[in-house]
Subunit: 113 residues, 2 copies
DNA sequence: ACGCTATAAGTAGGCTCTCTACATGTACAT
DNA sequence: ATGTACATGTAGAGAGCCTACTTATAGCGT
């Protein structure tokens, strides 16, 4: 998959992963890989800034903890985040059907559906 | 639909419209509206630069003509454009299934498929 | 002891693309 | 004369993703 394709949809993907329960950044990246069958391998330089952005926007709340000697920032969906996720799903639904409709190859003359 | 959502997919949409045959910019915008049921209403400031970009990239070839006293630049899919369109369709297919897989709400415990 | 890998978080700078807003001009209807 | 549809374009701004790099701990192999 070409790297930039996720643009504009990343927020929804992250929020969706966090719907399962709180996770820290590194675990979110792994969850995205797992759910996508390995197709989504996002660099930390993409995900971490996105998490901070989502936190600033009030869709996530984050808190530090130390596990096994390592610092973690664990993110939890806020109520606003849940609403944003629902909106993202609706957006995706409309967007994908629009792209599908435009991208679908035109039927050749005489071709039946 | 939120305005920016098309990002990264516009090229495919334009190429797809031109698969029907050559069109000029204004007609491309109208065709995108028509195929999307009105959902895609792209500003000229988005489409015209994209057409020039696609032409520079060799996916389209453009030529001027005058119709009814108005200047038109008519774009035609090149062979490379056709290949790019096929690639965009494949990309979309993978991308949408990945987003679908990640975005799909998790099943509640005990819920059957 | 040393190096490598996995885990964990982050920043800086660049780049591409879309959007808003504006500019230009013809044809035609009111 | 004014407005709307047709037709093309540019300038500048902004968002967001990417590459590359930095920092740090834990644990394994040699």
């Amino acid at each position: 998959m070409r790297p930039d394709a996720v643009r504009g949809h990343l927020d929804g993907l992250i929020l969706s992963v966090l719907e399962d329960g709180p996770r820290h950044g590194y675990a979110i990246i792994e969850a995205l890989q797992a759910r996508s069958g390995g197709a989504l391998d996002l660099p930390t330089g993409t995900v971490y800034p996105a998490l901070r952005r989502l936190e600033r926007a009030g869709r996530l709340s984050g808190s530090w903890s130390t596990v096994g000697g390592r610092e973690r920032r664990t993110y939890t969906l806020t109520r606003a985040g849940r609403h944003a996720l629902a909106a993202q799903r609706a957006d995706w639904s409309e967007f994908s059907s629009v792209v599908e409709a435009v991208l679908r190859p035109p039927r050749a003359a005489g071709e039946t559906s």
